[in-house]
């Protein structure tokens, strides 16, 4: 199903400035490439985003490798007790969930600039299309995360 339109990224700014009762933004640091953990991050991020909570996801270390452009699900996902069930049952694909969170809610995804440099990757050419908002350094993400709640997966 194609959905047009996206809400403007205003509630995070309101939350930071304290102008309203907007929920605290949720910051997720994803640093594991294990399928279960990517799936959990995608579930948390997408459900929070569609529940009117601003979400920012920082993907770092080997967690960024499954997001390489052009990979099939079989190449992308590995590891975890439930990996085989995720792949054989009708469980939503993690990349699709992240995409739905961005499309239906207020969500941003950032790729760790260190990993991009080490891999000689660019967001626009080496990562999954239409998912990442750009590169980001750890210091900037941690500074932003002071305005909300940070979970690390």
């Amino acid at each position: 199903m194609k959905i047009e339109g996206k809400r403007p990224a205003k509630s995070r700014d309101r939350a930071i400035s304290g102008e309203s009762m907007s929920p605290k933004p949720l910051y997720i640091m994803l640093c594991s490439a294990e399928h279960e953990k990517i799936q959990l991050a995608a579930m948390i991020a997408s459900v929070a985003a569609v529940s009117d909570r601003p979400v920012e996801v920082f993907v770092t270390m080997n967690a960024l490798l499954p997001f390489e452009r052009g990979k099939s699900p079989a190449e992308r996902y590995h590891g975890g007790h439930f990996h085989d069930l995720f792949m054989t049952k009708n469980v939503p694909d993690a990349i699709d969930l992240f995409g739905q969170g961005k499309m239906l809610g207020e969500m941003k995804m950032w790729a760790c600039s260190l990993v991009l440099d080490l891999q000689h990757w660019e967001c626009d050419t080496h990562l999954t299309e239409d998912l990442f908002d750009g590169p980001m350094g750890l210091a900037k993400f941690l500074a932003d995360a002071e305005s909300g709640e940070l979970i690390t997966i």
Partner: protein
């Protein structure tokens, strides 16, 4: 005039049915209703909780033959 549509999300695992409901509500008009059918046990509690959080109205919830039907009215 308000319309009701049925989304058959049976067989989809969490959070698939919720995301399908949200996508349908996004396209619906205020007052329209979406009947989401789900075999995911969590949907019976997740969908009403999500509606309470974001301000949509649960019209009815019922367990059918091995699945749940949750009717949601778009309220805003």
């Amino acid at each position: 005039m308000a319309e009701r549509q049925t989304i058959d999300a049976r067989g989809a695992f969490c959070p698939g049915p919720l995301m399908e409901l949200i996508a349908a509500l996004k396209l619906a008009s205020v007052g329209d209703e979406v009947d989401i059918l789900s075999s995911d046990k969590g949907s019976a509690t997740d969908i009403p909780a999500w509606c309470a959080k974001v301000g949509h109205q649960v019209v009815e919830t019922g367990e059918r033959d091995g699945y749940w039907s949750v009717v949601v009215r778009k309220a805003k």
